[in-house]
């Protein structure tokens, strides 16, 4: 019920106390240059399906080019490994990866739970979504998935667009091997619409003005592309994640992005950014970590994402007082106790506030509670029913 508020009040008091302390001399540089990656000097086999411009395609001289390729090269340069590119079919690309045919796959691949069971994914490197494309003459008739009922919709087999289109009632899904063929068939009036990733759709449509196609509406899904890594190669996963952050922070990412898409990427991916880490809501500890991070960043929207339906959220003004503090939460430890549909998370370890090390128990004396909704753990006061507001009154 009031947990969000209580939590914030606690936090405020704790923070004020901490700030009253003299900034301790114990502060020391926390960001040491990461140790050299464990894959340095190795040759990594990277698979891609080079039929997906502008992410990957084959140029006149048979070189694999594209956004993904340049990004992966930048990551390899940072981590110090060599890349052997392998152009392969999209179908079965993850099965091949899991069976060890490649070490990694970068192929505009959306991170999905089903795929994550087979392979490991790096942190997201691109935000994309599916979008509907139609012939320009039909642009007025279609904008949302509901409008597609009764139409023949082209997709690329096995993509997230395929999954999405299959779930729209009344839609007949026509599955092509390549996105480009689907657009060709759309231009030839063999099918009525295409659902493919937005950047690819925009690129194909812009490069084929004679087909007279257009994208309509807004992106249907929020999807993140990730670099898939062979599951038995965690060293590579760590190296790729570390180098992805470096490549984003030094502005290389933004430069590559701008050269392909004409605009700057979102703030997280611009120079000095740290990229995006997907929230694993099936893990209570990561939910609490997310809430704490969002609280210190003054991001009410982010907290709302994992809040209970009846949870009261802090207002922006309440959050504002935490802004401007340098906080490093990486030293926190979370002890999770799951009891049926509720979880209790005790925050331990230390955090760095304005460079000073503070024990977490000083700031978070009480455990945080989460409740389970479907597959996801949500942040709210779970004990409200069992223990009426007595504790709150006492505080």
């Amino acid at each position: 019920m009031r947990y969000g508020k209580k939590f914030l009040i606690l936090l405020t008091v704790a923070l004020l106390l901490v700030m009253a302390l003299p900034v301790a001399a114990t502060s020391q540089p926390t960001t040491e240059r990461a140790t050299r990656s464990q894959v340095e000097g190795q040759t990594i086999k990277v698979g891609t399906n080079a039929e997906y411009p502008p992410f990957e395609s084959v140029d006149e001289e048979d070189n694999i080019i594209g956004f993904d390729v340049e990004l992966m090269d930048a990551i390899a340069a940072d981590a110090g490994f060599e890349i052997e590119w392998i152009n392969t079919k999209w179908d079965g690309i993850f099965t091949a990866l899991a069976s060890g045919e490649f070490d990694a796959v970068i192929s505009a691949a959306t991170i999905t739970p089903e795929r994550e069971e087979e392979v490991d994914f790096s942190n997201p490197y691109f935000l994309a979504g599916q979008i509907i494309s139609v012939r320009a003459a039909d642009a007025e008739n279609v904008a949302t998935p509901d409008d597609l009922a009764g139409l023949r919709v082209g997709v690329q087999t096995g993509t997230t667009g395929d999954t999405f289109a299959t779930e729209i009632p009344g839609v007949e899904v026509v599955r092509f091997d390549e996105a480009t063929l689907a657009f060709q068939a759309l231009g030839n009036e063999e099918i009525d619409a295409v659902i493919v990733d937005a950047p690819t759709s925009a690129d194909i449509i812009a490069n084929n003005p004679d087909l007279n196609l257009t994208t309509v509406g807004e992106t249907l899904t929020d999807e993140f592309y990730g670099i898939a890594i062979r599951p038995d190669f965690p060293e590579l996963l760590d190296a790729v994640n570390a180098s992805l952050v470096n490549v984003i922070a030094d502005g290389t990412y933004a430069a590559i992005f701008e050269s392909y898409f004409g605009t700057l990427p979102s703030e997280d991916f611009q120079e000095g950014g740290t990229g995006v880490v997907l929230l694993d809501t099936t893990d209570p500890a990561s939910v609490i970590n997310y809430v704490l991070t969002a609280t210190f960043a003054g991001d009410a929207e982010a907290i709302a994402e994992v809040a209970c339906a009846d949870g009261e959220l802090p207002t922006t003004e309440e959050l504002a007082q935490f802004l401007g503090l340098t906080v490093d939460l990486s030293g926190l430890e979370y002890t999770v106790t799951i009891d049926g549909e509720t979880a209790e998370v005790v925050v331990g370890g230390t955090l760095l506030l304005e460079g000073a090390e503070v024990a977490a128990s000083d700031i978070f004396p009480e455990p945080a509670h989460l409740v389970l909704e479907g597959e996801d753990w949500l942040f709210c006061e779970a004990t409200a029913d069992a223990e009426p507001d007595a504790t709150e009154e006492a505080n």
Binding site: D91, G92, F94, T95, E114, E117, E118, E140, N141, V142, A143, T144, D146, D147, A149, G150, L151, R152, G154, T157, G158, P169, G170, E172, V174, R175, F176, D177, L181, A182, Q184, A185, N188, E189, E190, V216, G217, E218, E258, G262, T263, L264, T282, I338, G340, E341, L372
Partner: protein
């Protein structure tokens, strides 16, 4: 031995009584003719097939690849019919994207103009600004209006709620809070501010000091992303958003007060619109030719054994709107069910999961730890890593099932959790048929069998038949003495034989077919009827305009070249003296071909024809590039969806080998039959 009927023959020798062969003899004879390798392969397939049929997962794959044939079905078509329906127009708005890439929703009342054009970046634009082309919407922006120099004002009413410095705070009818400068106020009086009863039927009107003021706005521009019309169905209040250009007609009317309304209720002026409502579902077999029955929601039932029922009570069932968005809550039964119990050998376990090999299963099943109520281990406290097998019995969490009880007997109850919904449409009411494709594959609905192995068979048979015709014709041309025919056929054979089949398929689908449809003039008059006929055939076979005809013709043309060479070789293998003999008997060229040469040639070419038939059956998998759901395509789809590549491709291979093996035995039988004595 023929019997003579003439009288002057010697007395017949006692006839050899030939007893008709017994059935076991016949079978033995047939079995002897089956070669040993075929027996071996069939045994292998039999063994693998039995193994697959024993596993539920593999059975799913086989079902999926064979389009799940049934004996009897009522589900004839997947349909989307459109029916004219009158509904209430709740609101209309446009989504507009500005140059800064933010999107806002603008009610149609605030839109000043919409026309095709370009928005250019201003001089002081931020980095990354791109000019945008599209439908430019100019609209009144109240929220971010420049109060000092507005581009216009709209007379608005609001409820006074307080003051902020020199400004007056007001709440508008739609709940938006804003502030008004004193010199914008036109009048102020005690009254009631009616809320928008169309958008929110349960809203409460505000009463108090009502201020009439000039609300300033600034004109802004953006590119239209989409236009929406929110509509409400009259019978059940179901609201959806449609594109405004689907509205067929509009009518001004009033929304009458409901029977139990407050006495001061006044009818509200509203707009009623007629639009083609989409009825999506399964068309059922009906005996009335004036009506069609469409099942829009499938019934879902849950069976619960009596021993697991904890409690049953009557209550309000909250319907599942993900299954049926238009459902209404109803009185039903709410059953508390104790969790199911599973037992087996513990394979692995983690903080959140168990993997248990259930009794009778080969592979482990996953269980989420949070779904489990209690567990019993034998021996007590054992773990997966112990040397001896760790037997566990787990009981899942209790759950509730709500719905209507439709069957109740000794073993348990059956609860309908989602009721079936069938819409009956008069055929005369159907405004348009947007889609109508064959649905379930069954003996009484064979046209529903049009995916997976069935499509492979349909395509191979029709393409091979066509290829035989092309091949025979071109083969005859190849041995013709007429230079035109000879060179024409040689050109065809050399051209097509040199191009990969995949290229031919793509060429027919993406070049020839659109060219035929779009041709104009004399060419168009020839190609249009052909194109239309082929399209009709496609609709007959698959229920939609797919690439089926293109695929069949592409395969036939590609294989025609090889068959032409086969027929040429066959004809040339018959010695030239036979033609000469036939011609000298007075036969024409065609008679000699028909009665003397071809019957011998065809015997010779049967084995290579059989080869090509089998090769085409396998090459029919290439049509997947034209998005046709044939056997291999379905197998790949299954493996990308479930990541079960090995069983899926195993099943595909088994289906192919069963087909080719049967074909090859058939070809052998035909060869034997037609062999010269």
């Amino acid at each position: 031995m023929g019997q003579s009927t003439k009288a002057n023959v010697p007395p017949p020798v006692p006839e050899l009584v030939q007893e008709p062969p017994t059935v076991p003899d016949l079978l033995l004879g047939m079995a002897r003719r089956v070669p040993w390798w075929a027996v071996l392969l069939f045994l292998l397939i039999f063994w693998v097939g039995i193994d697959m049929l024993n596993d539920q997962n593999d059975r799913d794959i086989l079902d999926w690849l064979a389009d799940r044939p049934e004996v009897n079905t009522d589900e004839l078509y997947d349909v989307v019919y459109e029916v004219k329906t009158e509904v209430l127009l709740v609101s209309e708005m446009v989504r507009v994207r500005g140059l800064d890439n933010t999107t806002v929703t603008v009610p149609i009342q605030q839109v000043v103009s919409q026309e095709d054009g370009v928005i250019n970046c201003p001089e002081d634009a931020v980095e990354g600004c791109l000019s945008q082309r599209g439908v430019v919407v100019t609209y009144q922006d109240f929220e971010n209006a420049n109060r000092e120099s507005p581009e216009g004002t709209v007379e608005t009413k609001g409820l006074r709620t307080g003051v902020v410095g020199p400004l007056v705070r007001v709440t508008l009818a739609d709940g938006v809070q804003t502030v008004v400068a004193p010199n914008d106020i036109l009048s102020e009086e005690e009254g009631v501010l009616a809320c928008d009863a169309i958008a929110a039927p349960d809203c409460e009107s505000l009463s108090g000091q009502i201020i009439t003021f000039n609300r300033p706005y600034t004109l802004r521009q953006g590119i239209r992303v989409r236009a929406d019309a929110r509509i409400r169905h009259l019978e059940d209040g179901y609201e959806i958003t449609i594109r405004p250009n689907r509205i067929l007609s509009r009518r001004e009317g009033t929304l009458e007060c409901p029977p139990n309304a407050a006495p001061d209720c006044v009818p509200i002026p509203v707009t009623y619109v007629v639009y083609p409502e989409k009825i999506i579902g399964t068309e059922l077999r009906g005996d009335d030719d004036k009506e069609v029955q469409v099942r829009t929601v499938e019934q879902q039932t849950v069976q619960i054994s009596r021993s697991r029922i904890i409690n049953m009570e009557v209550g309000t069932v909250t319907c599942d709107r993900s299954e049926d968005p238009r459902c209404q809550d109803y009185e039903g039964t709410i059953v508390s069910v104790s969790g199911e119990t599973f037992s087996g050998r513990l394979s692995t376990e983690s903080a959140s999961q168990y993997d248990i090999i259930l009794e009778g299963d080969a592979e482990a099943t996953e269980f989420e730890r949070r779904d489990i109520k209690e567990e019993i281990r034998n021996p007590d406290g054992c773990t997966a890593t112990d040397a001896i097998a760790c037997e566990v019995t787990i009981t899942m969490n209790d759950s509730t099932v709500a719905g209507r009880i439709i069957a109740d007997n000794n073993s348990g109850i059956t609860i309908e959790t989602v009721p079936e919904k069938i819409v009956t449409l008069r055929k005369s009411d159907i405004y348009s048929t947007t889609a109508r494709t064959y649905k379930t594959c069954a003996l009484n609905n064979p046209r529903g069998c049009n995916a997976g192995i069935w499509l492979t068979i349909i395509v191979t048979l029709s393409a091979f038949g066509l290829a035989l015709l092309i091949g025979l014709l071109m083969g005859l041309f190849r041995v013709s003495s007429n230079p035109i025919f000879y060179h024409l056929s040689t050109f065809y054979v050399e051209l097509v034989r040199g191009v990969p089949l995949l290229v031919i398929l793509l060429y027919f689908a993406f070049v020839v077919s659109p060219q035929m449809r779009d041709a104009t003039g004399v060419v168009g008059e020839i190609t249009h009827p052909i194109y239309d006929t082929l399209t009709k055939i496609e609709v007959q076979v698959l229920g939609n305009e797919s690439f089926l005809a293109e695929a069949v013709i592409g395969l036939a043309v590609g294989y025609g070249a090889f068959l032409a060479e086969v027929f040429r070789a066959g004809i040339q293998s018959v010695s030239k003296g036979q033609t000469e003999a036939a011609r000298s008997l007075g036969m024409s060229y065609f008679q000699s071909m028909r009665y003397v040469i071809l019957p011998q040639a065809i015997r010779t070419v049967l084995p290579p024809l059989g080869n090509d038939f089998i090769a085409m059956l396998k090459d029919s998998s290439l049509i997947a590039i034209l998005a046709l759901p044939e056997l291999l395509q379905q197998g790949r789809l299954y493996s990308t969806r479930t990541f079960q590549a090995i069983p899926a491709y195993n099943a595909v291979a088994i289906f192919y080998i069963v087909m080719t093996l049967s074909l090859s035995l058939m070809v052998r039988a035909v060869e034997r039959r037609s062999r010269l004595p």
